[in-house]
């Protein structure tokens, strides 16, 4: 492959549930020299639909923007609406929100860890991690009644309470998770397959991370201590001491370590939240009509800064509901990481920002000299990557 235009369309036909998206990569030899983005394959038209729904109906829609971080979306949304209403949810509900949000972070990071392992060809680790992830799925079900789409948040508080029995089960499950995650982190740190494919791969310097607006574990893996939970606290995060996990590696390996260590930190946060949880009611009733106002709500979703800007107009439907997901924020940084890197690294660098699956599957690779359009599937690209590394 020497300086030609190859279009690599990474199709959606992959067992590991990818959605169709498009990146256009220009290559020269074995390197990527330019990246263009064309996402939107799953664009449904949610912001417009929000204007057509009451605030409560909008809650159900926000939950389904993303099935993996649905709680982050509903938390961000209800906080915005509560601010429009000028109400505070009861203290106990704010702690329950933290518990559910951190359980979601654990499930999301473990899901990602499994997928990332699969990207490198480490399928055994994928299976182990997803088996252990079932522990947190069980906990989420205990807390909310559902494995995915927990529907715990409502405008004015939460819908389900925690009792001693549930809390006891959560603590038991967390202990198991903690032990296993620590084992995985130790193992990953020594595993040559992982190290070869991720150390010094997908470099994003500290200054670039800030300049290109990176968020979440991606920005923290470049040595930038930024986390909405600590910087712009919401729910009960300002009442719970915790650490912001930062790594200096600036590479894919650092991104793995940040997420892995965040799982352990989330376990700690849940324990603290349960310890400090006050008694009391879990929701307040709210009025359907909201006088004209505006609110900018932010949360730290598993993938990073998520924000909702909502404007009310005196009716029971919002005038405008703007949603900015963390994956969109990380796309400029992703482009920066890919340029100058090897084609063989493309799958793992893409995976490194933990794309909300919504953004990452369609890739066009344009090789500048030959000006050909060749179609590659993501599987082919992965196989190319693995072979390429085997030969080195």
């Amino acid at each position: 492959m020497s300086g030609s235009t190859i279009k690599v369309i990474i199709g959606p036909q992959h067992p590991a549930l990818k959605e169709p998206e498009r990146f256009i990569l220009e290559t020269e030899g074995e390197h990527v020299v330019d990246v263009r983005v064309r996402i939107g394959y799953i664009h449904r038209g949610i912001e417009k639909a929000m204007e057509n729904r009451t605030y409560l109906q909008g809650l159900y829609l926000s939950e389904r923007v993303c099935g993996i971080c649905s709680d982050a979306h509903t938390t961000c949304y209800v906080q915005g609406v509560e601010e429009l209403l000028g109400i505070e949810p009861p203290p106990r509900s704010r702690f329950i929100r933290v518990v559910v949000a951190e359980l979601e972070r654990i499930h999301s990071h473990l899901l990602w860890l499994g997928i990332a392992a699969h990207e490198i060809g480490f399928d055994t680790l994928f299976m182990y991690v997803w088996r252990d992830r079932e522990v947190v799925m069980d906990l989420l079900e205990i807390v909310s009644g559902n494995r995915v789409n927990y529907a715990t948040n409502t405008i004015g508080g939460v819908r389900r309470d925690l009792n001693d029995e549930r809390i006891h089960k959560i603590l038991k499950g967390l202990k198991v998770l903690e032990d296993r995650t620590k084992e995985y982190l130790k193992m990953i740190g020594k595993e040559q397959t992982v190290l070869k494919r991720t150390v010094d791969v997908g470099i994003l310097s500290k200054s670039d991370a800030i300049k290109y607006g990176a968020v979440g574990p991606t920005v923290r893996a470049s040595g930038v201590k930024r986390d909405v939970r600590a910087d712009d606290p919401y729910a009960a995060y300002d009442e719970i001491p915790f650490n912001v996990i930062v790594e200096d590696g600036c590479d894919c390996f650092a991104r793995i370590m940040v997420r892995g260590r965040e799982v352990v930190e989330s376990i700690h946060i849940i324990r603290e939240a349960l310890k400090r949880m006050p008694d009391g009611e879990i929701r307040v009733r709210v009025k359907p009509r909201i006088p004209p106002a505006e609110a900018l709500s932010r949360v730290e979703a598993p993938r990073g800064e998520l924000l909702y800007y909502i404007r009310s107009n005196g009716t029971d439907k919002p005038e405008r509901c703007k949603i900015r997901t963390p994956t969109l924020a990380n796309i400029p940084s992703l482009c920066k990481m890919l340029v100058g890197g090897y084609i063989a690294d493309v799958p793992i660098v893409l995976a490194g920002i933990d794309p909300c699956f919504a953004c990452m599957d369609r890739v066009l690779v344009i090789d500048k000299e030959k000006r050909e359009a060749k179609v590659w599937t993501l599987d082919m690209l992965r196989r190319y990557g693995r072979e390429w590394y085997r030969k080195r």
Partner: protein, 149 residues
């Protein structure tokens, strides 16, 4: 519910080894992760002989998640057309079944049966892995009874 599959069906499935191609038309991934969970050790749908494959030309079953959107409609149709007969379709999740809750979103067309016939509907938002497996078992039954192979 998995036990009700019956040993005969299990043997049939292992003999036939139905291949599935999965396509997400534009969903939130909720159903996808539960479908994937069904493949993992705890649920292990592979013991039924069901294998997830990448190519429509060898697939027996098309599993669709997500609501059909404008931009994915053509690709979904192409995949369906490339599948050899006899082919079966399973719609996983409420979006694939009917498009809800995105029914009025401008880019959403609706459920899968707006494009071609569906053999098994698995409602849920998302359906649990057990429900997805139950859907596959029902589909396997249908394939064994109706299919000519």
């Amino acid at each position: 519910m998995i036990l009700t599959a019956g040993l005969g069906l299990l043997r049939w499935a292992r003999r036939k080894s139905p291949w599935i191609i999965h396509f997400n038309t534009g969903g939130c991934n909720g159903c996808d992760i539960e479908l994937l969970a069904a493949l993992t050790p705890k649920y292990d749908v592979e013991r039924f002989g069901i294998l997830l494959k990448g190519s429509p030309r060898h697939a027996d079953i098309l599993a669709v998640t997500g609501p059909v959107t404008n931009q994915t409609k053509d690709r979904l149709l192409r995949i369906y057309e490339q599948m050899p007969e006899p082919k079966y379709v399973i719609a996983i999740g409420t979006c694939a079944v009917s498009g809800a809750p995105f029914w009025d979103c401008y880019n959403v067309i609706g459920g899968v049966d707006k494009l071609f016939p569906v053999d098994v509907y698995v409602p849920g938002c998302p359906p649990r892995p057990e429900a997805i497996i139950d859907g596959f078992v029902k589909l396997l039954k249908k394939m064994e009874e109706g299919g000519n192979g």
